[in-house]
């Protein structure tokens, strides 16, 4: 790998052109100008390279040098990742703050991982063992809940000639040596991987377990599988970020990678301040012990925003390869697409729809295809998954725009956010009639086992009530509610219950923010039980007015704030409620 030195010819925003770089390759990293700003080659014409620069380019001059480094943009993978916050090209924000203060300037280099910290390494392999790519050399207990597995990097196969005893090592120390066909390889606690290439695995396997999120509307109607993909488009103020934050908080993945891509600085701050205080409902430990953040806010350099989602997904794949379930949230993929558009515009490429480059769809597909449930490399059988959920911010809230449409062609779950619901403060404002999940059928066995065998019927019944409700409402708009027969008005009441007492969920309420499996099941079961009794009572001629005045109606409205720590107490509460429904209906039927 020779270094080649070129000369800058033109600077326009984040894009520069440099001559004299014959032999440079696409996506090769270049160092530009006196401050050696990091950039990546984006187009080559003869000996001229077009370079997108990941930092502010003010002050760069034509005639300054641009050096091709012969490497690709890569990330360092190893202990120290969990709990970190990086910018789009894996520089830790706290290190940047330490180096230059509260405002980010440029030309900063920072080690992605702490180099001096000693990690307790526990080897699981012995000298003389044959290993191949993906095998577990040993482990590091990185946080109290996360066991970091140290893997043989892809492409390495051979016999271990040396391995260190259990002890404390930094990421720069050699922990093992492998005799490969071509020579000896020193292995450390870390490895590097280029961000634009997916990490290898053995095979993709089918998804059969949901990513349980504790958000009732998602888990009940539109679940995403572990290893699946989901898109959440919505205009501003509809709750994209709050929903993604909720997923990051409560989803039952072992590792969360949250990519803040061209969004607000304060939203990242919120995660940094809130997550350490919140407890994972499954492990009881701080949420920060399983979370990584990649933050390239809207006012940070636009080219690094383009790179940030690749950085994020490479980190996610690395944890997948250790055999973990990883969930990645990207907020927002529209801002990433805009970065792509901006760079494409500067390259003077022929624009496609709405100025976006013609390759928008294929780039999005490349990104989402890196999600999946896989059998990892390595001789032991390990299964890991990366679930990707991306927010989309359509211009004017119009879902027909190119980013939303290109995304929906790839992702299998669509959570449609609804402006009208949001303005009623009906959160999560996921439109239950417009959204869909293509995983629903394959996840049925899991739900039946976890929730109850009648779960599919309960969800179908409630969804059909909501559908009927919509049709009836259209009639009401024309003729008024009085014109409807009691039976149909009862449907409106039942739908009101499903919507307000079940689907509506407060992200701010300490109990309601997360709803465990059994609680969701019981809540829906109770509402459906009430609906059955209401329907019978109406048939027997009891006026609806009397039914909705029953005391138990108020109790149903407060089910969601019922504590759920003690499962027995909770189940007893719901069984009592079921009895109350029966008793109250019997009392009005008698009178």
């Amino acid at each position: 790998m020779t270094t080649r030195i070129g000369t800058i010819q033109r600077i326009a925003g984040p894009l520069i052109e440099a001559d004299g770089l014959f032999g440079v390759t696409m996506f090769e990293v270049c160092r530009v100008g006196a401050e050696e700003l990091i950039g990546e080659v984006n187009r080559i014409v003869g000996d001229r390279a077009y370079i997108q620069v990941y930092e502010e380019t003010s002050g760069l001059k034509p005639g300054e040098k641009a050096v091709a480094t012969g490497t690709s943009l890569d990330v360092e993978l190893g202990p120290g990742l969990v709990g970190s916050i990086f910018d789009g090209i894996q520089r830790p924000l706290p290190s940047i703050k330490e180096a230059v203060g509260d405002f980010i300037t440029r030309g900063i280099t920072a080690d992605p991982l702490p180099v001096d910290k000693k990690w307790h390494f526990q080897p699981t392999m012995e000298k003389g063992t044959s290993v191949s790519q993906g095998d577990v050399l040993g482990t590091v207990q990185e946080t109290s809940v996360f066991l970091h597995k140290i893997l043989v990097p892809p492409g390495i196969e051979g016999k271990i000639t040396q391995i260190v005893p259990p002890g404390d090592y930094t990421i720069r120390e050699v922990i093992a040596q492998v005799q490969t066909a071509t020579g000896k390889e020193d292995l450390k606690l870390t490895q590097r991987w280029p961000v634009r290439i997916g990490r290898p695995y053995k095979t993709k396997i089918s998804t059969e377990v949901p990513l349980y999120t504790g958000q009732r509307v998602i888990d009940t109607f539109f679940p995403v599988a572990k290893g699946g993909t989901g898109a959440i488009p919505g205009g501003f103020g509809t709750g994209k970020t709050v929903t993604l934050h909720q997923l990051a908080k409560w989803a039952d993945a072992e590792i969360i990678v949250y990519v803040g891509c061209g969004e607000r600085g304060n939203e990242m701050t919120e995660v940094l301040e809130d997550f350490p205080k919140l407890k994972d409902p499954k492990s009881g430990k701080s949420l920060m012990e399983r979370t990584l953040l990649v933050a390239n806010t809207s006012n940070m350099p636009v080219a690094a925003r383009e790179a940030s989602i690749y950085t994020g997904i490479t980190l996610a794949e690395y944890f997948r390869d250790q055999g973990y379930n990883v969930a990645l949230m990207a907020d927002s993929t529209s801002r990433w697409a805009e970065a792509l558009r901006e760079i494409s515009g500067r390259l003077e490429e022929m624009p496609g729809e709405e100025g976006y480059p013609a390759y928008l769809g294929s780039r999005l597909a490349d990104f989402y295809e890196r999600a999946g449930r896989v059998q990892t490399l390595g001789t032991d059988y390990r299964v890991g998954s990366v679930t990707v959920t991306g927010a989309v911010s359509p211009a004017g809230g119009d879902f027909s725009e190119p980013v939303t449409q290109s995304t929906l062609r790839i992702t299998k779950v669509f959570w449609a956010l609804d402006k009208d619901m949001a303005s009623r403060r009906f959160f999560p404002a996921i439109n239950y009639l417009q959204s869909y999940s293509l995983y629903k059928d394959e996840l049925v066995p899991w739900y039946q086992k976890k929730m109850g065998s009648d779960w599919p019927e309960l969800t179908e019944e409630s969804l059909s009530i909501l559908q009927r409700d919509k049709e009836l409402r259209e009639i009401v708009q024309l003729v008024g509610p009085d014109a409807l027969p009691e039976r149909e008005r009862a449907i409106l009441e039942a739908a009101r219950m499903v919507k307000e007492d079940y689907l509506m969920q407060s992200a701010l309420h300490p109990i309601d923010t997360y709803c465990p499996e059994l609680k969701s099941y019981w809540m829906l079961k109770i509402i459906m039980a009430f609906w059955q009794r209401m329907r019978q009572a109406i048939d027997e001629g009891i006026p609806l007015r009397r039914i909705i005045a029953l005391p138990v109606v108020g109790k149903i409205a407060r089910m969601k704030v019922q504590p759920h720590e003690d499962v027995k107490v909770m189940e007893q509460y719901f069984k009592d409620l079921e009895n109350e429904i029966n008793n109250e209906f019997i009392s009005i039927e008698v009178n």
Binding site: Q9, K61, F103, G265, L272, T297, S298, M300, G396
Partner: protein, 477 residues
């Protein structure tokens, strides 16, 4: 000093080859840096400023802030300064009036700067930010009660032409305070292409309340050079950052009207023949706007704050207009004025339904406003949306078709608008008064309708005589 000397050594060029719209093309230049500041001497001897938009070998494209009128390709001289554009800052700027480039225009003494700061600022490290949590009382019920503003937030007003957004913004600058504290906001009024009349209105308002001495006015009026609007908000925010983060002040920045800013950006983009995005605005409009709006907030370990209130008039009241749309995606909520409320005589005509304050959740409740705040606002929102649905229904089917429950909601929405939303332009309500009024509005509903409020909260409100529901005669039977 060495820097300055180096700058004066930079050569002057007389090689302008093209003057086109707001742009100059300069040939045979050496050592030109991207984004550097240039000084242009017109044939008549006047001095103008510009920056390098594109730097090539031997050629530079320059945008001229004061306009290109009177420039030629024969005798116009251009000097490269070797520096990026800077703004002179000092706390003596308080009480002064500046033009869009930061030069005083009030016939006061010249400014002796404490420092010269880069106009474009630098992005705040998210790891250095502190999440905004301090409640600001504006004295307006629709804001304090339903869309609470906190210190360090950026909350725009989306309005339309002819609506009283300026009066609302002026009332906020008059009344904004942290209850129980004596601190005052330093106000920076940044006028971007507004009329002299509107600017006068703001000045008079600041003068009457005695706040002019703690204000800085950065004015680019409708007849000022349009390209200067690119730097006007940046001048204002550079001063704001200095006052907040170096001088520990709480700064409230009013930016009006951001549509004019975006139009100036569009003009440059069109002159450069860039591929346009929606409605002719450049594809980088989002990134560009965020470099303005993100300059708000709080920093760990520093006591000053920047709160931004941009004002934006939406052409044709269209909220999907690109400037309004992208602003909504960057700012932390939005206050939206409604023409129909205005026509009904409701002031401030802020429509609560589409309005939103994203940072509200952390700034209200016990220790900030009052323990019952969140529940009261949630219930008011619910009742208002039920009420307005019913109003639409009544328009079609008449009131006869309504049930008793529906009638209560219908009467609620009327009083909610005329008593809760509506208030005087000089009426200042404390947060307690706003929330008490909220309970008064809710007192027409029986307890079982108050599903968004915990039973304990209702009980407490009953004891305090806030919630006073009296069943009507028909219900008792």
């Amino acid at each position: 000093m060495t820097n300055r000397r180096a700058a004066t050594l930079k050569p002057t060029y007389q090689t302008v080859t093209t003057v086109s719209g707001p742009l100059l093309i300069l040939d045979k230049v050496t050592d030109v840096a991207y984004n550097e500041l240039v000084e242009i001497t017109a044939p008549d001897g006047t001095l103008r400023r510009g920056t390098v938009l594109e730097a090539m070998r031997g050629r530079a494209i320059v945008q001229v802030f004061e306009g290109t009128r009177g420039l030629d390709t024969k005798s116009t001289r251009v000097r490269l300064t070797g520096e990026t554009m800077k703004t002179a800052v000092t706390s003596d700027l308080l009480g002064r009036i500046l033009n869009g480039s930061g030069t005083p225009i009030d016939r006061g003494p010249p400014i002796v700067p404490d420092d010269e700061l880069d106009l474009n600022g630098a992005p705040m490290n998210p790891d250095a930010r502190q999440y905004p949590r301090e409640f600001i009382q504006t004295g307006l019920s629709v804001i304090d009660g339903l869309n609470t503003l906190v210190r360090g937030q950026k909350l725009p007003i989306f309005s339309g032409s002819g609506l009283p957004h300026d009066r609302v913004a002026a009332q906020i600058t008059r009344q904004a305070k942290i209850p129980g504290k004596e601190e005052q906001f330093a106000v920076i009024l940044c006028a971007i292409g507004i009329t002299a009349e509107t600017a006068q209105f703001y000045m008079k308002n600041l003068e009457e309340t005695g706040a002019l001495a703690t204000s800085v006015l950065v004015l680019n009026l409708a007849d000022d050079p349009p390209i200067e609007r690119i730097i006007t908000p940046r001048t204002a925010l550079t001063i704001a950052e200095y006052l907040a983060f170096e001088q520990n002040m709480h700064v409230l920045v009013i930016l009006t009207d951001m549509l004019n800013y975006a139009n100036a950006l569009r003009e440059i983009s069109a002159a450069r023949e860039e591929v346009p995005g929606r409605r002719g605005y450049p594809g980088y409009l989002y990134t560009d706007l965020s470099s303005i709006y993100e300059r708000a907030g709080r920093i760990i370990g520093r006591s000053g704050t920047i709160t931004q209130m941009p004002i934006l008039t939406m052409p044709g009241d269209d909220i999907t207009h690109p400037v309004a749309d992208l602003t909504g995606y960057i700012t932390e909520g939005q206050l939206i004025t409604s023409r129909s409320l205005h026509n009904k005589g409701i002031y401030p005509p802020v429509d609560p339904a589409p309005s939103l304050s994203r940072l509200m959740k952390e700034g209200i409740g016990e220790g900030h406003t009052r323990a019952d705040h969140n529940e009261v606002q949630a219930q008011l929102y619910y009742a208002a949306s039920e009420g307005s649905d019913l109003r639409d229904l009544v328009a079609v089917v008449g009131e006869g078709a309504l049930s008793d429950r529906d009638r209560v909601y219908l009467s609620f929405i009327e009083t909610f608008e005329t008593q809760f939303l509506n208030q005087g332009e000089f009426e200042e309500r404390t947060i307690e008064q706003t929330l008490d009024l909220g309970w008064e509005m809710l007192s027409r509903f029986p307890e079982r309708e108050l599903k968004r409020i915990d039973p304990e909260t209702i009980e407490k409100a009953k004891n305090q005589q806030l919630y006073r529901y009296a069943p009507s005669a028909s219900e008792v039977n």
